[in-house]
């Protein structure tokens, strides 16, 4: 049973539709990431779930309880929603100690003193902050401040955690560590997470499912594997992971790239829908292209960069540039050589 339900949620700013009829269901204990470029509407959606903004259409339910609804003109303010939330700039209060920061939501709820103490300490313990409890958050690094924010959100033992780009203000090497800490906390406490980010590797590493958004419209919802391996359209393909594209003419006998026809059986099955159009867009990941001596798509090596672990190639095919990445163990052509490319897992999209 879905724990968090967003139905046809819509938000407009003047003539611009920031979020367009979004449907999403999140199960208890599931982590869902909303991913997309800046301005795509993911943060707006999160704020509507949090209650900072009301919606122009649709409804939001959590645990069966209606929180926001346009039709019923119902809107529960954020302070009554009992969510834990972590913001991008940490939003940790510098004038309160670490302990007081974490205890704040408990004090506001007027819990008995002993319980406030116990729960705060528990939250601090789970985020490794016990030793810093009496100090100021300003004494901590960015990662430390983020932990304070997490502890504060955990203190009320929420069923839902809302995370707004929580790792983008951190040092790159610290981000990985924090990812795992958040994941561990989720496993331990069992809350659902709705997560906003523009970093696709972060979304893939952390979430059970990803929702890809563009200009307010949902592009695809699926597991990281599904979204990476079977992207529904060109935008999703390009947004997640490295990509390269080739325009191709499509006929019964084969595909035409840069004036050369490559017959079907040897490489790729023709996409049924696009055959009728006569053209299509061949999309592939640079790591899923191989160098072959026969029957490959003909190209010429423009660039070859030794990056240590990988070698990065740019191959000219007609007017286009195809990027190929191989690990350093795999031998490859030199700059200026002619070569043949084999697409191991090609995807087809309509040519626009």
């Amino acid at each position: 049973m879905a724990y968090i339900e967003l139905r046809q949620v819509t938000k407009r700013f003047g003539s611009v539709t920031a979020v367009d009829r979004l449907d999403l269901e999140i199960a208890k204990g599931e982590c869902v990431a909303m991913l997309g470029p800046s301005g795509c509407g993911k943060t707006t959606t999160l704020r509507m779930v949090a209650g900072f903004d009301d919606l122009d259409d649709g409804e939001i339910r959590v645990g069966g309880k209606l929180l926001s609804s346009k039709r019923e003109n119902l809107y529960l303010p954020p302070e009554n929603r009992n969510f834990g939330m972590v913001f991008q700039a940490f939003a940790v209060w510098p004038h309160l100690s670490v302990f007081e920061n974490v205890a704040f939501p408990l004090r506001v709820r007027k819990l008995p003193r002993a319980e406030i103490g116990a729960r705060t300490e528990e939250a601090l313990k789970h985020t490794n902050l016990l030793s810093a409890a009496n100090g100021s958050p300003d004494d901590l690094s960015g990662g430390g401040k983020q932990r304070v924010a997490l502890a504060r959100a955990l203190a009320i033992r929420p069923d839902v955690m809302l995370l707004d780009e929580p790792l983008s203000s951190l040092d790159p090497h610290f981000r990985e560590e924090m990812r795992f800490e958040i994941k561990d906390l989720q496993h331990r406490f069992g809350f659902s997470i709705l997560y906003v980010t523009h970093d696709q590797s972060e979304a893939m590493a952390l979430s059970d499912r990803i929702l890809v958004m563009r200009a307010g419209v949902v592009q695809q919802i699926g597991t990281p594997l599904e979204v990476y391996g079977s992207p529904e359209n060109r935008f999703v393909f390009e947004f997640i992971g490295l990509s390269c594209f080739l325009h191709s003419g499509l006929t019964e006998s084969g595909m035409q790239i840069a004036g050369i026809t490559y017959p079907w059986p040897n490489s790729i099955a023709p996409p049924p829908g696009l055959l009728a159009n006569g053209t299509g867009l061949l999309a592939a990941r640079p790591t899923e292209i191989n160098f072959v001596s026969e029957h490959g798509i003909r190209g010429k090596v423009l660039r070859k960069a030794y990056l240590g672990e990988t070698i990065d190639y740019r191959i000219r095919v007609g007017d286009a540039e195809v990027r190929v990445q191989k690990t350093r163990h795999v031998p490859g052509p030199a700059v200026g050589d002619n070569c043949g490319l084999e697409f191991a897992c090609p995807h087809w999209y309509p040519a626009d």
């Binding site: 893939m204 990476y228 030794y306 990056l307």
Partner: protein, 362 residues
């Protein structure tokens, strides 16, 4: 001729020795990268070559001409060394437009107006800023400002180009594009380049030769990128050039075991005689299988990262990292989850003495 000869250079600040007795030679026309962690002294060396600092001891010569000699006190000021410098923060002058920025070196040299205009516009085209020469820096993006800095450094056709981490503040795509352009320019113009950075990826991609400097200002290894990557001189170089995992291996007579366990070492034999060894390898060197021969391991963490799946595997008590291409994992049923047992074979191993693991935490 623009080779650079640095001999026995030392420099200290506020009592702290940054560089001591450093000697290095850059060949004419090569792209040389000085790679090291932040604060190691690589920027100080660049500033010494540029003339912004004076060495406490030693000497520096460019193209056979001595530009700084601590013993004689000879010090050629920066404006007379015939160099181009690109700074980390671009240092593009905000009150001058693109044309004036780039033409400034020629103006100082008293170049005739017609020639100045031609050469400046050529430099503008060279870096791909055609048509933007009337703009002010505030109207340009970071990448465009970087190109202005580059053009300005090249316009007077210097014999030596010094680049101090110029690509740090650019996004990943632009960084790739710019490093390719710098390399292309260098080949086209045949100038000597000294590129200073802490980013090993840029260093490997751009350099003809790399010198790796450690935190104390000492040079650990100098060589071509492939040599440094495939045959590192020591574990510092190995660790600095990329993600590294180590397995402790001990000799017991003829047999090899992992750490203190009874698990046998399976794989490449060590090429050094020590009794206690460390086997170093990269994540992409690890091949996993569900059965067959190999080192027994338990998967502690699995992260799907798109093109790769990243694993943290416990082998006889030591955690190592493995990265497998995701399409291969899918094709050959190698998508492990936490708790799975697996067998690991390591394709290529760098052997080090066991004491490099002394400070390691598992």
């Amino acid at each position: 001729m623009a080779n650079v000869r640095i001999e026995g250079v030392a420099k200290q600040y506020a009592g702290r020795k940054i560089l001591s007795g450093l000697s290095l030679e850059l060949n004419d026309g090569e792209c040389f990268t000085l790679l090291g962690p932040s604060g190691c002294g690589k920027t100080v060396l660049l500033r010494l070559i540029a003339g912004f600092e004076t060495p406490d001891s030693g000497s520096i010569a460019i193209g056979g001409e001595v530009v700084a000699n601590a013993a004689t006190g000879h010090m050629l000021p920066p404006d007379k060394r015939g160099l181009g410098v690109v700074f980390q923060d671009y240092a593009v002058w905000p009150h001058m437009n693109v044309f004036d920025n780039i033409s400034y070196p020629l103006k100082l040299a008293g170049t005739a107006a017609k020639s100045l205009r031609e050469r400046t516009l050529r430099a503008v085209d060279l870096v791909g800023l055609s048509g933007l020469d009337a703009r002010l820096p505030s109207q340009l993006s970071g990448g465009q400002q970087q190109r202005v800095a580059l053009a300005r450094a090249l316009v007077s056709e210097p014999r030596l180009l010094l680049l101090d981490e110029p690509l740090n503040n650019l996004d990943a795509n632009l960084r790739e594009e710019m490093r390719f352009e710098i390399k292309a320019l260098q080949r086209q113009l045949g100038i000597t380049i000294l590129y200073v950075t802490h980013d090993q990826e840029i260093a490997l991609a751009i350099a003809d030769r790399i010198a790796v400097m450690d935190a104390n200002g000492a040079l650990r290894q100098i060589g071509v990128p492939e040599a440094l990557y495939e045959k590192p001189a020591d574990d510092f170089v190995f660790r600095f050039l990329g993600i590294a995992s180590f397995l402790p291996v001990r000799r017991d007579g003829e047999a090899l075991y992992i750490g203190g366990s009874s698990a046998k070492w399976v794989g490449q034999a060590p090429d050094i005689p020590d009794a206690r060894l460390a086997a170093g390898f990269r994540p992409s060197d690890v091949m996993l299988a569900r059965g067959g021969e190999g080192l027994p391991g338990i998967v502690r963490r699995a992260s799907f990262l798109g093109a790769q799946v990243d694993y943290l595997i416990d082998i006889a008590g030591t955690l190592i990292r493995a990265a497998l291409p995701s399409h291969e994992c899918l094709a050959r049923n190698l998508l492990f989850v936490e708790g799975d047992h697996c067998l690991a074979r390591i394709a290529s191993v760098q052997w080090f003495a066991g004491d490099i693991l002394a400070a390691e935490k598992v």
